[in-house]
């Protein structure tokens, strides 16, 4: 069957319970109640501190077929996922599902656990590196579920992603289970992606290498939701957890795109007091923020909030009075951690608060403008951020589809030519974010406006921006680099791409080799 953007979705997919095709960004209305996790009690003399993971596995107990969840704030420095899965393998457990909000190269040991039958399912929002490559080649018997950050929050909250045990990698904990991300050798800042896990999992285990005095303060995840605390030697490599600093690109083409994107934002008329903004941590996104900042300073604009992954650059804008608040679901550098721990206007929010479509209002709905990237875009403005030019999984939506749906204006910034490949194609290999939620594409060779936004096109033309039809941009790219050949994929579905509301927007098929 074809979904609302014309993607062919099988009516049944082995290993996936219910297939509901994508019907439109806001077409699906929930008809369920929030799930309720198991109710427990603990006596005054009971202790939560456990000597090692094996003991925790036996106390709960963790059994075959369970779903274990993890968050990704430690990024490529994470040691907890591998530690927990090694324990599961040591105890002979089988058929586990790993619900890890993002998978990084450091998680390569998952591959062996799949081959040995310890892990048979993966549920994630983003993956790169060896696991993503192995998944693309058919590592799992059943498809991996690729969600959005908000969609994962929704899935947990609504019981579609039922977590038996949440393992929370905690930079700091006290012995009674209060946790935060701003202290300890593995400080990572916000723990926002773990908030729904902590709220709805049947059991919550904090894994930490830093035990602070009770009561730990500030508290990100409270003792009332944490069943056990395990002290380990080391939860990961701090070098992979934060990047130190995130820098504005110096690439002239990237800067040209960023400057044009800032002019596009200015032309929308949204840069005024109360302006709400989200951009990524990449060099080009930060460059756009830098140009926007100049405009805000020039016009004495004070924004209401900046959202999403927070960088030192955004912290500086907060501290300079350009934004009143930061809403932080994930910190990217040391400055973000420092600010979160000291500035009351820097708010730590959960994934559901950030972007779940099925609650009484998430933060992305309040955005004026979001800047996002793309690996491919088609002439209907559908965006692919999952698969690369070879069909191999190299990313995922993360918050892409969420922010695109929520913001008043969604801008994709991308090089028209990525190396030797045009970014605009007739049909994206994998649809991640529907075109109806994308308003503008900004490239180094022109700006394309979604025909649904004729109002914006008029404003951009009036501002003298280089507006071009998306077909014209596509032809321009193909004139320089030629039209890329379509990627050939196999029949086996290796991943389903879930839209934020739980419907299936696309599937990813196996690549050869």
């Amino acid at each position: 069957m074809k979904n609302a953007i014309g993607r062919e979705i099988p009516e049944t997919i082995s290993g996936i319970a219910a297939i509901k095709p994508f019907a439109g960004a806001f077409a699906t209305v929930p008809e369920m109640t929030r799930q309720a996790p198991k109710v427990k009690t603990i006596k005054p003399a009971d202790r939560k501190l456990v000597d090692n993971l094996v003991e925790v596995f036996k106390k709960i107990p963790v059994t075959d077929g369970m779903t274990l969840s993890f968050h990704h704030h430690f990024r490529n420095g994470d040691g907890v996922v591998n530690m927990v899965l090694a324990t599961a393998a040591q105890l002979g457990l089988k058929n586990l599902t790993v619900a890890l909000s993002s998978v990084f190269p450091v998680h390569a040991p998952i591959i062996e656990h799949v081959k040995n039958g310890v892990v048979t399912g993966l549920d994630t929002n983003y993956m790169s590196g060896p696991v993503a490559q192995a998944v693309s080649k058919g590592l799992f018997d059943k498809p991996v579920v690729l969600r959005t950050h908000g969609g994962r929050g929704r899935g947990i909250e609504c019981g579609q992603l039922k977590i038996d045990v949440a393992f929370i990698a905690a930079p700091a904990a006290d012995e009674y289970g209060n946790l935060n991300g701003v202290e300890g050798p593995a400080a990572c800042g916000s723990l926002g992606y773990a908030f729904p896990d902590a709220q709805y999992a049947d059991y919550v285990v904090a894994v930490t290498d830093y035990i602070g005095e009770y009561p730990l303060s500030p508290i990100s995840i409270p003792q009332t939701r944490v069943d056990y605390v395990v002290k380990v030697e080391c939860v990961g490599d701090p070098k992979g957890i934060v990047s130190g600093t995130t820098r504005i690109t110096k690439d002239p083409v990237g800067l040209k795109i960023a400057e044009t994107a800032a002019k596009v934002i200015q032309a929308t008329g949204l840069i005024k007091n109360g302006f709400a903004f989200q951009t990524g941590a990449g060099g080009a996104s930060l460059a756009t923020a830098a140009f926007v900042r100049k405009m805000m300073e020039k016009d004495n604009v004070v924004g209401s909030f900046a959202l999403g992954g927070i960088t030192g650059y955004m912290v500086d804008m907060l501290e300079s009075g350009l934004f009143k608040k930061l809403m932080d679901v994930q910190g990217f550098d040391l400055e973000a951690i420092r600010s979160l721990s000291t500035n009351p206007n820097h708010l730590e929010i959960g994934a559901d608060f950030y972007a779940s479509p099925f609650n009484a209002g998430c933060a992305v709905n309040q955005l004026d403008v979001v800047i996002l990237g793309a690996t491919e875009m088609d002439t209907d403005f559908n965006v692919n951020v999952v698969t690369g030019s070879d069909g191999v999984i190299m990313g995922g939506s993360g918050g892409h589809a969420d922010a695109a749906a929520g913001a008043k204006v969604t801008i994709i910034v991308a090089n028209l030519l990525r190396g030797r490949l045009p970014i605009i194609v007739d049909k994206v290999l994998t649809a991640t974010t529907p075109g109806e939620t994308i308003d503008v594409l900004v490239t180094e060779r022109g700006v394309a406006v979604n025909p649904l936004r004729a109002d914006l096109k008029e404003k951009f033309l009036a501002a003298g921006l280089p507006v071009k039809d998306i077909q014209e941009l596509k032809q321009l790219a193909e004139k320089i680099a030629g039209a890329p050949k379509a990627v050939k994929t196999g029949e086996k579905i290796v991943a389903v791409v879930e839209y934020r509301d739980g419907t299936i927007i696309d599937v990813v098929r196996q690549v050869e080799g």
């Binding site: 002239p252 083409v253 040209k256 400057e259 180094e444 060779r445 003298g464 004139k479 320089i480």
Partner: protein, 290 residues
């Protein structure tokens, strides 16, 4: 009027930058075979630039190739590049009219019969070149501009290069004067600190005040600042329109003398006003629309 507010250098051995050179909106792109290219890469860069001239669309940007000096690879560069139809050749280290005669002859020999004549921009970057500026500008009809290269020039003087540019003041005024006298354009030396936007702005404003018509650029990030300075301001356009109105009114009244705000409007003023309006029209700045 050939617009050369900004002339952007692009290394001739960098395919990615050559492919994207047209996206920055520079009035001219200078595909560089000289300083940006190591001696062992000269052959490859020459071949690459020749291919780029045939295949890459630089849009509204004029294509200029900086060849190597006459005492190195100039002859082989010209032979390879000129048939690929660049708009102009930037000749480094020009020191005399004879240098221009030599280059013009080589260009003429390499040109295909049907192609638009290739222009010459002379880069003056030695004390001798500065002394000979006027003769160089007048040496051949192909010469359309004199450009100043201050780094080599100050090395030749034995002077310390500074951001303020006191040491190149004389050279700047000589180049501007010689170019104006020969009725060609004068292009200022690049501002070499690509991270200092304020310094670039001040240096470009000085160049414009002195009379330069444009500026060489070593980084695409400099283009917008340079254009902002060299674009006529709304005040400039307003003044120029008043001048033209005054002169037309005087002509209609049969008077050879016009005045504006109590000052006589003579031919140089009319010429300046016409140049501003022409530039404003080319840039779409007329009528205060932007």
């Amino acid at each position: 009027m050939d617009l050369r507010r900004s002339m952007l250098f692009i290394p001739g051995n960098n395919p990615g930058m050559l492919q994207n050179g047209g996206v920055f909106g520079a009035d001219s792109v200078i595909l560089d075979l000289e300083d940006a290219v190591a001696p062992m890469e000269k052959d490859a860069a020459r071949f690459l630039v020749a291919q780029v001239l045939r295949t890459v669309d630089y849009g509204v940007s004029e294509t200029v190739v900086r060849i190597n000096p006459l005492d190195t690879f100039a002859a082989v560069d010209i032979k390879a590049i000129v048939p690929c139809c660049p708009d102009a050749i930037l000749v480094p280290k020009v020191e005399s009219a004879a240098d221009i005669h030599q280059v013009a002859a080589m260009i003429a020999a390499a040109e295909k019969p049907e192609q638009t004549p290739v222009k010459i921009i002379a880069l003056l970057e030695t004390p001798c070149g500065i002394v000979e500026a006027y003769h160089i500008a007048k040496a051949d009809p192909r010469v359309v501009a004199l450009a100043l290269g201050a780094e080599d020039y100050t090395a030749g003087l034995g002077a310390m290069r500074t951001k303020e540019g006191t040491e190149i003041f004389t050279a700047r005024t000589i180049v501007i004067n010689a170019a104006a006298a020969a009725n060609v354009q004068s292009i200022d030396t690049p501002y070499t600190d690509a991270n200092d936007e304020e310094g670039l702005l001040a240096d470009t404003q000085l160049a414009k005040r002195l009379g330069f018509k444009g500026k060489l650029s070593i980084n695409p990030r400099q283009i917008d600042v340079i254009h902002t300075v060299f674009n006529p301001s709304l005040n400039d356009i307003d003044w120029a329109q008043q001048v033209i109105h005054a002169i037309r009114k005087a002509e209609a009244e049969g008077s050879g003398v016009a005045s504006l705000n109590g000052k006589m409007v003579d031919l140089p003023i009319v010429n300046r006003a016409e140049r501003i309006l022409h530039l404003a029209e080319l840039l779409g700045l007329m009528g205060g629309e932007k």
